[in-house]
Structures are given as structure tokens and as C-alpha cells.
């Protein structure tokens, strides 16, 4: 195909928009178009180079990030200074959500693996939205809570599974539930 024409058919502008990206995330899948447009004005688009630190363990955390393009690595540092790879995330994933509602420190570090575009949603913006537009803010928060509690449930099932595995090996009196 003619290169001049091929560009046009690659992606429609709608699919390229931030609103399209947001509405396709499981976090915000139940929001109306109006709420998505509100959210669009709430989030921050940030561009990162490859191997750039997004946040470090112990930083004041103020919100979550969603990956629009690129990929990132979550890691923690051992007391000896070695890095321990915790997770690798790609487009559509999100991280840092534990600090969105409570002002706590980051519990791990994050770094980009390539040039990455992140969409940040921060506590202060959400607080402002909650004051100005409580209805939409509660919908956004509901979506977040749903996904976070799903994660929590998966984690607790995993813990129980690990405990059971541990129980088969260890002496029975060491296990408490």
C-alpha cells in the first residue's frame, strides 16, 4: 500500500485518544462517557525515557499509575543493595494504587524498561473531584475498590494456598490461622 495512505488506516483518532484508553481499562469500564471525560481532565500524562526511575521505595506516595504504552519493572532492594525483581507490567496494567487513598510511603520501587507513557491518577485530584463532583468521583472510586478488592481476595487465596503447602512440610503446631 502507498505509505501516504497506510498511515491513515492505522488507528482511528478515537482509538488514539486518552478517553478511549481509560474507558477500556477494567478499572473504569463501568463509567459513563461523561464521567470518562471528567476523569480525562483529572489524570496526568507523563512520558518517561527508558530505565527511568518512577518512584523509589520509601518515597511519599500520592497516587497510582496506569501504563498506556511501554513497560515497567517493579522491584525492591534487599538490605545488601541487590535488586529483587517483583513484577513486570505492560500496557493496560496499573500499579501504586495502595497509596491513592492513604498518604503512605511507597513499598517498592518502579522503573521503566523502555520509553513509556504513564497515566497518573493522584490523591489530591481525586479529593478535589470528590468535592466538586461527588457522584462521578464515587463511581471512579467504586471501580478502583472493586479491582483492589479482587486483588486482595486473590492474594488471600494465595496466602492460604501457601500456608497449606507450608503446613504439609512444617510441624502442625507452628501453623496458626
Amino acid at each position: 500500500m502507498d505509505p501516504i495512505w497506510s498511515n491513515i488506516f492505522r488507528k482511528t483518532p478515537e482509538q488514539d485518544s486518552l478517553a478511549y484508553f481509560l474507558s477500556n481499562l477494567p478499572l473504569f469500564s463501568e463509567l459513563s462517557a461523561k464521567e470518562i471525560s471528567l476523569l480525562e481532565n483529572l489524570v496526568h500524562l507523563r512520558n518517561y525515557r527508558a530505565h527511568e526511575i518512577i518512584f523509589e521505595d520509601g518515597d511519599p506516595g500520592s497516587g497510582m499509575y496506569m501504563i498506556r504504552s511501554g513497560s515497567i519493572q517493579i522491584f525492591s532492594r534487599t538490605p545488601q543493595g541487590e535488586e529483587e525483581d517483583l513484577a513486570r507490567l505492560g500496557p493496560g496494567d496499573f500499579f501504586g494504587e495502595t497509596t491513592l487513598t492513604a498518604p503512605v510511603q511507597r513499598s517498592a520501587s518502579a522503573r521503566t524498561l523502555e520509553a513509556t507513557e504513564l497515566v497518573g491518577l493522584f490523591r489530591s485530584d481525586l479529593q478535589e473531584a470528590a468535592e466538586e463532583n461527588p457522584r462521578a468521583a464515587s463511581h471512579i472510586l467504586f471501580g478502583l475498590t472493586r479491582v483492589v478488592s479482587e486483588r486482595l481476595q486473590a492474594a488471600s487465596i494465595e496466602i492460604r494456598r501457601l500456608q497449606r503447602m507450608l503446613g504439609e512440610d512444617a510441624a502442625p503446631e507452628t501453623i496458626e490461622t
Binding site: H44, I53, G58, D59, P60, P103, V104, F122, S124
Partner: protein, 378 residues
């Protein structure tokens, strides 16, 4: 002879030419910049001094009006329309007030022109009497000739204020146009402007700056609204209280007391001087004079301001040391005259609050860290 062509190491001729050109341009533009540096700094200083006042006033006004705009916006009106509605409301109330007071206003103005020298004369008369009695008791003071000196001072001060009035009238005219304009855009796009500024920060510090900008602006909004509301209520109380007496210009005195109340420590005292002086000159040391004094000192300042308004509206955090207040007033007055004196203190308070908020933010996040350290232990 067969000499091998010298191995070109390093730069080619083209590159050297390019480097030469780049260096020449750099030096030339550097020299040009250097020579015009003084005019550049002058330019920026002029731009700053011209823009500072309207920007600051618009800033304060937009903080003041934004709750109202937000309230109207909640009813479903767009933001721009809400702002227009607020402007319409202000203009409407302003016209009603003007129509209500304008006939008196003109008479009041001419009266004030007649009365001010009268009050000054009477006051110097009193001062003369006092001086005469002093002279009787301490004849050696006579050599200082205080009498003519006081007359000279009052004349100088009066003429100085009169000479400055047209200039400030022109400035105020400019402000009347610029401030509503700037306020409109601050109200409409304030959040976007702030976001644009915050988004300029590098990735690594973005989160912190973003969080801080939110905390500081919230604190600022509270402070500005509190201060203005406080000044308004004090002015209202003074006006109402003075209306009970036979004193003239109760409204003017109330407005004056309200505006000066924006300055801590010194403002209230300056605000009560004209009222008490007028009461003294007009009524002597009678009941009305004492009522005026009680109204200014006890009712407006102690009861309303210190016991009710300041604890409710203004956090102790924004308190400034008296010395800092003096500095702010002196520097503000030097830079921008009377308006500078009024806004100098709030600006210093704003700076102080920003610093405190930053420190508090850092402490909030350091505390759990030290707790963790304790937990980890040696």
C-alpha cells in the same frame, strides 16, 4: 617524492568550519546579550512591576469568588456562564449600593474636602494648646520651635497625599480594567494553569510537587477567604457602631477600619485613629467619644476580632512575628505605596505558609520512616 597524504585524524575541514561558525555566533550573541542585559533586566522589572499588582489582586479575588462560582456551577450551568453570573451579581449589587449612596457620596466627598483641613486645623489647635502648657512648665523647649514644625509637617503630609492622588487614580483606573479580566481567566482556567505549571516538573519530583501544590493552594484559599471575611465583618461592625453616634462619615470610617484590619498589629491602630480623632474634635471628651473608643477597641478589636473571628477563621499557623510584620509593611510601602503596605503582610504570610506546608509534608512522610527504623532496630 612520494609522500603519503597526512592521515586526517580528528576533524574534517567542514567540521572545523562549522565549529568556527558556531563559536563565532555564540560569542557574538553572548556579547549582544551581555550588552543588552541591563535593558533586559530593566524590561523584566518594568513588566513585573506593571503586572504584579493586577495579578495579585486577581489572584486574591479568584480565590474569594471561586466557592461562589463552584456553587452556581453545581446547578448545572457551565463554568464560564457561572463566572458571568457571579460578575453580573457583583455589578448588580455594586449598582444598587452606588444608587443608594451616590447622592450622599458626592455631598460626602465635598464635605470631606472641607472637613479634612478643618479637622487638621482643630487638631493642630489642640496640639498648640498642649504645647503652650508644656512651654509654661518647661521654657527651655521653646528653642526647638515645635509649633511651626508641627504645622509644617501636617502641611507637608497633606500636600504629599494630594500630589500623589491623580497618579494613584490612574493606576486604580487601570486596575479596574485589568483585575476583572485576569480574575475571569483565573476563575475559568486556574486549575488548568496550575496543572500546566506543575506538569513542567521533572518526572522524579512530579508527585511531590503535585501534592504540595494542592495542599498549599487549599491552605491559601482558606487564608485569603478568612482574612477578607474578617476585614469585612470588622468594617461592618465599626460602620454599624458609628452609625449610632452623630459622627459623620461612618461608612467611610468603617471601610477604612476594614481595609486597615488586613494588616496585623498596626492596622487596627491606624484604622481607629481617624474615627477617634473625629469623635474627639466633634464631641470633646463626652459620652459619644468614649462610645467610639469602646466600639473601636473593645467591641471591634477585642470582642469581635480576637475572641470570635480570628479563632474561627484564621489558623494560628499564619501568624507572623511583629518584627516581620514591620519589615513587610516598610518594604511593601517602599515598593508599591499604600497598596503595598496593605498587601505586604499577606504576601509574607503566604510565603511563610508555603514553607510551613512543605515542612509539614516532609515531616508527615518522615515520621513513619523513623518508626520503621525503630521497628527494624539494630
Amino acid at each position: 617524492m612520494n609522500v603519503a597524504p597526512p592521515q586526517r585524524r580528528g576533524w574534517t575541514r567542514g567540521q572545523i568550519l562549522l565549529a568556527f561558525l558556531v563559536l563565532t555566533t555564540a560569542i557574538a550573541s553572548g556579547l549582544a546579550l551581555f550588552s543588552s542585559a541591563s535593558s533586559l533586566t530593566n524590561l523584566s522589572r518594568t513588566a513585573f512591576s506593571v503586572l504584579f499588582m493586577p495579578l495579585f489582586l486577581a489572584f486574591v479575588l479568584s480565590f474569594l469568588l471561586s466557592p461562589l462560582v463552584r456553587f452556581i456551577e453545581k446547578s448545572g450551568l457551565g463554568r464560564t456562564n457561572s463566572i458571568f453570573l457571579v460578575y453580573l451579581l457583583i455589578v448588580g449589587i455594586g449598582t444598587i449600593l452606588a444608587l443608594r449612596f451616590l447622592p450622599n457620596w458626592e455631598a460626602l466627598w465635598t464635605n470631606l474636602g472641607v472637613d479634612l483641613p478643618r479637622y487638621a486645623d482643630k487638631f493642630t489647635g489642640y496640639a498648640k494648646e498642649v504645647l503652650d502648657t508644656i512651654h509654661e512648665h518647661f521654657p527651655q523647649i521653646k528653642s526647638y520651635d515645635l509649633n511651626t514644625k508641627i504645622n509644617l509637617w501636617t502641611q507637608q503630609i497633606l500636600s504629599a497625599t494630594l500630589a500623589r492622588t491623580p497618579v494613584s487614580a490612574l493606576k486604580i483606573g487601570g486596575l479596574m480594567v485589568l483585575v476583572p479580566l485576569f480574575t475571569f481567566f483565573f476563575l475559568r482556567d486556574g486549575r488548568t494553569i496550575l496543572r500546566a505549571f506543575v506538569s513542567l516538573t521533572p518526572n522524579r519530583h512530579f508527585e511531590m510537587i503535585h501534592d504540595l501544590s494542592y495542599l498549599v493552594s487549599r491552605q491559601l484559599a482558606q487564608f485569603i477567604r478568612g482574612r477578607i471575611l474578617e476585614a469585612f465583618i470588622v468594617g461592618l461592625v465599626v460602620w454599624l457602631g458609628l452609625s449610632l453616634t452623630d459622627i459623620r462619615y461612618a461608612l467611610v470610617l468603617g471601610i477604612f477600619a476594614g481595609i486597615t484590619n488586613l494588616i496585623p498589629y498596626i492596622g487596627p491602630i491606624v484604622g481607629m485613629v481617624p474615627g477617634i480623632l473625629m469623635a474627639f474634635v466633634d464631641f470633646g471628651l463626652g459620652g459619644q467619644f468614649w462610645w467610639t473608643v469602646i466600639l473601636y477597641v473593645l467591641i471591634a478589636q477585642v470582642l469581635i476580632d480576637n475572641f470570635i473571628l480570628i479563632p474561627v477563621l484564621i489558623s494560628r499557623v499564619s501568624n507572623l512575628h511583629p518584627l516581620l510584620v514591620f519589615f513587610a509593611i516598610i518594604v511593601g510601602g517602599k515598593l508599591y505605596g499604600i497598596i503595598g503596605m496593605i498587601i505586604g503582610v499577606p504576601i509574607v504570610s503566604i510565603i511563610k505558609m508555603t514553607i510551613l506546608e512543605v515542612r509539614m509534608y516532609r515531616r508527615t512522610f518522615r515520621l513513619p520512616e523513623s518508626a520503621l527504623d525503630l521497628e527494624r532496630g539494630p
